[in-house]
Structures are given as C-alpha cells and as structure tokens.
Subunit: 390 residues, 2 copies
C-alpha cells in the first residue's frame, strides 16, 4: 500500500497497467491495494476515458487510471528571513492555494511568528479546500534538531533554541513537523525535481543564508544529531570577513544575497526578484553589477570544491540565487571549482539549477507532513478528526 500510494503521489494519475509494471506486482494485487486505498479515501479510480490510445497495445480490459485524492491535504509553511509562505498542498504534491506575508519589523520573535503562521493557516483552512488535513510541515532557515524539531540555531531569524513546532502545534492543535529549509529543498528535488533517481545528491541553496542538503545512497544525510550539510559555513577565503558564526571566510559571507547586493552597491533585501534584476543589469553592461555577479559565481565554485572532494556527488542541484548565478555564469563557477584538480569532479561533473525553484523548501515541507501517511497508509484513521491522530 505504501509503495503504491507513494508512486501515485509522485507520478500523478497512473494506469493500473503502469502500476503493475512499475511495482512488479500482479494485476489482482494492484486491484486489491487500489480498492483498499480508495476505501480509506486516499486514491480515486477514474474510468479510462482520457487515456491516450497506445498503438500496438495488447487488447483486453482497459486499465483504470488511479489518481491521488487532492482533498487529502497538508499545510506547508516556509519561514524565510523576510517572509512567511503558507500553502495547502494536496496528495500528489499540488499546491491548492497559498498565502505570503512579509515579516513585520522585529516580528521574528518565535511566539509572534507562530501566531502569524497560525492565522495564515486558519485563513487557508477556512477555504475548505481539503476534506482531510493531515498536519503541518514547516521549513526553517536554521539548524533543527532531528529528535524533537527544536530550532537550535537560526541566525537569520535571531533564534536560539526555539521550539517552533511545539508553539505552532499549540496554536493549531494539529501535528507539526519541522526541518531545515535546505534539507527540505533537497528532499523535494530528490522526490520530484532535478535529482529524481539520483542516489548521491548535493543540494545547495542561497538566499540571505546558504543552506545545504545531501542524499547518500538514496537517503538524506543527517549526521549524528541532524546538523549535517552546513555548507554555508565551509571556509572558502582565508582573507575573508568574519561570519556571523564567528569564523572567517565562510561561503555564506561570499555568496549570500546581501553580499551580492552590497557588492553591486545596492541595499539589502528584495529576494529573488532583486537578484534577477541585478543579473539583468550586469548583462546589460552595468560593470559594478557584473563584478558582483562574477564574484558570487567564483566563490560558489570554490565552495563546491569540498562538496565534490568529500561527496563525489552524482548530481549537484543549486537553488535560490545560486541557481540564478550558475545559470548566468556557468564558466566562472567551473573555474572556481577547478574540476581538473579533483578526481571526483573530473569523473562526474553534473551541476544543475533547481527545477522546483523557490518552492523547493515549501514542497519539501509538504512532503515532510505527508511522510507518515505514505509510510503507513493503513494507519490513517478516516473517521477521527486529524488533530486527534497526532
């Protein structure tokens, strides 16, 4: 049941015939499992009206199309430095509706943010988009302890040891799960983005801070306490500035959004549109903007070096402004990396922009909230309200 539900969740509407092939189960087993998942309200079977005719196809009973029930939903929350995004996401990974709100000045206090998020969630829940709401997944730009979801350290929010999942769960009376934004971006890119099918994945994403999420042998890299993948604090320049973390020359001090804007003589803030505008100005001949973009591209390359040296990744996915800069200045990034000097990079050099863009972490937060359902579809109690299932 888990494998079948996951398949339909990731692939969308799928014929029974395709499920039979993909999952390696026989037709009657697929039929039984589909019926069970339909009974507990997770899938629907649609008659094969819209099915394309495949030439040369074996005759026989036409295969039904199995589709995810989009009214089975989660709330996905992405906390960014300047804004909060909340979305209702249906089974199948479809964003049904969303809200974005800028943080008010000084509104980074954990309890205040939890209140705001709860309010935004309430507005979306009032739309009645889902017949069933499983829970809430939250993406946080910081280090999240795996065991209990405690936000140990989120410097760009000014948080140290903020139990955000607990705060939000108390407000919403729903199960809340939390994880690091880059880990969730990596999860989403691995499930339905630029890293589908790859076992060894490095995901680096840049906005104000720089985050990293890794997959090793097809599983997320966690480390001893869930803090692995802190690529923003790998040193790239011994002569660099002191980082907020206290060390000198961290990647984050070189390729963060504010450093990029400052190097071009611009004010901080503005997010992806401001970066896009800067790259456009650079391409139009603005020398200072050009130098700023070139600089970030160079340091991104230098920062990729330890990633290749240590992980020998099958694919590197770049998100946020790193994706924008890589797309615009690929050659400079590769010069900084210097693949010829590393056997791993010489052998496999596969760097791609994110395919989910700025939604990667949000979609990853949704997947985090869907994960218990996908792992054990049969344990979902269809008659009890969601909040009691925690």
């Amino acid at each position: 049941m888990s494998a079948l539900l996951t398949q339909v969740h990731l692939q969308g509407p799928t014929t029974r015939a395709a499920l039979t092939t993909t999952l390696g189960l026989n037709r009657s087993t697929i039929g039984d499992l589909t019926r069970q998942l339909e009974e507990i309200g997770l899938l629907v079977e649609v008659p094969p009206g819209e099915e394309p005719v495949v030439p040369g196809r074996r005759s026989g009973r036409p295969s039904l199309v199995v589709a995810p029930r989009e009214d089975v939903t989660v709330l996905a929350v992405a906390l960014d430095v300047d804004r909060i995004t909340v979305a209702v996401v249906g089974l199948g990974g479809v964003v049904l509706d969303r809200r974005t709100r800028l943080h008010q000045r000084g509104e980074h206090d954990g309890e205040r943010v939890a209140e705001t998020v709860a309010q935004m969630c309430g507005e979306l829940m009032a739309l009645g988009l889902g017949s069933r709401l499983l829970g809430v997944g939250v993406s946080v730009p910081g280090a999240v302890r795996e065991s209990d979801g405690m936000v140990r350290f989120a410097p760009n929010l000014g948080w140290t040891d903020v139990p955000f999942a607990d705060l939000l769960a108390t407000e919403l009376r729903l199960p809340v799960v939390t994880a690091n934004d880059a880990d969730l971006g990596a999860l989403a890119e691995h499930m339905r983005g630029a890293a589908v099918g790859a076992d060894d994945v490095a995901y680096l994403s840049g906005s104000v801070g720089i985050g990293g999420g890794f997959f090793v042998r097809g599983l997320p890299l966690r480390g001893a306490s869930g803090f692995a993948g802190e690529v923003g604090h790998v040193m790239v320049d011994s002569n660099g500035d002191q980082c907020r973390c206290g060390a000198v020359g961290c990647l984050e001090t070189k390729v963060g959004e504010n450093q990029l804007l400052a190097a071009a003589g611009r004010l901080p803030g503005g997010g992806p549109p401001a970066v896009a505008e800067l790259i456009k100005a650079a391409d139009a001949g603005d020398a200072r903007a050009g130098q700023a973009v070139d600089g970030v591209a160079h340091w991104l390359g230098v920062g990729l070096r330890p990633v290749f040296a240590l992980f020998n990744p099958e694919v590197v996915v770049l998100g946020g402004l790193l994706s924008q800069v890589f797309t615009a200045r690929r050659t400079i990034v590769l010069e900084g990396l210097d693949p010829q000097s590393l056997i791993s990079a010489r052998d496999v050099l596969n760097i791609r922009p994110s395919s989910l863009g700025d939604d990667a972490s949000l979609l990853g937060a949704a997947e985090l909230a869907f994960a218990p359902l996908l792992a054990e579809p049969g344990r979902v109690d269809v008659d009890r309200p969601v909040a009691a299932q925690g």
Copy 2:
C-alpha cells in the same frame, strides 16, 4: 550463517550462550549453524575448559566456545609511498606473519610493484600458515574506481590508470580486490577499532598524503564513482602553496609528512618514527620542531571544520601522523576547528586517535578480502583450490 561467522570473526572465541544472546537466535539454531560452519571448515568448537567461572551463573550444559579457524586466511597488502607491507591474516583478523620491503628508487612502476608484491606473497605462502587462502586485499594510497579496482590516480606513487588488481591477479592467480587506503582504514576502525558501533564516522589519516574515509548510516561513503572522502584536497589556506593536484592551499600541502619535516628543517622521509622523533624533540624544547608540530595541529583543525560542517560525525578517528599530532597538540587542533562557531561541532565533538595505528589500512585490506566469505559463508567451496573460486 553470515551473521554468526561475522560475529566470531569480529569478537574472537565466543560462547554459544553469548552468540544466542547477541544474535537473538535460539540455542538449537546456534548449534545447527555452528555445526555447518564447522563442517565447511570456518569455525572450530573448543570444549569449555578455559572458560572463566561466572558466579551466580545458571547451571546446565556448559556452553562451548566457538572460535574462528585462523588457518582460513587472506593476504593483505598495504602499498605506501616508501614501503610495501604484506601480511597473512587469519579469520578473526589475526596477523599471522608479515613482511615489509622499502620501494627501490624508481620502483614505483605498476608492473614492477606487482612483481615485488607477488614475490613477497609467495614467500609468505611458502610458510604454509593457512590451510586455505581466500584471496588478496590491497590498500592503495590513491583514488580507486569501485567498479573494477582500477587505480585512477595515485599521485604519491606516480600512477594514473594502473590496473593493479589485474596485474597482481595475473602474477598470483588469486582473486585480488583493491581499495583506497583511507577507506580501508575507516573500514577497519569501524569493524574492530576506535569507531566500533558508530554509524556516522569520519576517518582522516596522514602520511605523505592525506586520506579520508567516511561511514554514513553505518555504510561506507562511496559517492557516484567511489571517489568520495578526498579530504586531502579540501582547501584550508587561500594563501597557501600550490598542491600537486593543481589547486592552492589543499590540506595535504599543510599537514603531509614532508611538510611537517620540512617546516622543522628536516629531510623528507622516515615515516611514523621520524614524526615521533620530531614531536619528542618539540616537547624537549626544540623551538623549530615545536612550531612545525603546532602548525600541523592548527591546519588539521582547520581541515576538520568542513568535515564537521558537512557530516556532523558521531566520531572522528585520526590515523597516521594526524593521530600523533592530535595526541600531542589537542588544544591547538580544537582552536583551528573552532567548534563554538559550528552547531554540529558544538553538539557532538568526538575526536579520537586511531586504535589500530599504522595497521589500520592493512587490516582493512584483509577485511576487504574476507568480505565475500563473511557475506556468504555457504558459497565457499572447501574442496576446490581458492584460485578457481574467483
């Protein structure tokens, strides 16, 4: 059978009672498996004569002691920059005999080295220490392609694309398996050294070159093509010298044996004894030696930073000269790492010297050669000569 054989191989002589508890199988199953493994000549059961009396122990049939058959052997080969070591290792991981020979000047040519190793192996085989020889495991100081054992790049031997396993197999007519020395050191420390029981392990070892081997979730980190863990080529100093690899400021240019000796005004070469002597001189007040050791300690700390940032390891094991320097200058290493600036290092800071010392890679090479037997003990054909089992 695999679990029982592996347990006895790792733990040495073990009572049936202990095996029953550890493996969670009942007494009669343990008895059956032990008998089967005894029949195919991999274990022996010894009467409980030497067993210590445990006060308060339940009476009943005394438990037999199950021991590995040390006459089931492999040959383990460690290629180092200045020397070749070959050992006969018995089941249970016991080194039964060994030979070491220095490379002759210019004798790094792949075919010549294979001839020398084959000769050394022949001398050890002539001793008749094992009734059965399963194959050969080789540790190489370079990047080894996982798929076919091709040595892609071993700069300290001057090798590029040397099919050493094939060369040696042709000489010896035995199955030969090859892997990177640091990966094998990590394997041995994980199986029977300083990292037993840890799932997320970083192993860094230093001699002329610097190697790294990692475990993630209890499994070796390989990467897309087996080249993961190249910690020697992580940049630690933007102002540093150019490395043999072409890049600037690699860890290997800062903490390699020759750099350490040169910084103290000494000639290159000499291995662990030369390093030990240098540290002794530093401790006795030789200022130049002291500065050299302090410098290596500092850069080792800086090199550990990306390891903690990216892996959040449960334990870091240091081998070779890194172990010597860490033991002598722990405080300076930690200052270079600056754990307070990294959430992962603040949370789990567990750095240990190797417990297998300079034999780690050699013992890892033996484990590599034992691995097929441990995985499928029943597939070993006791009547056919080993060479035909390849």
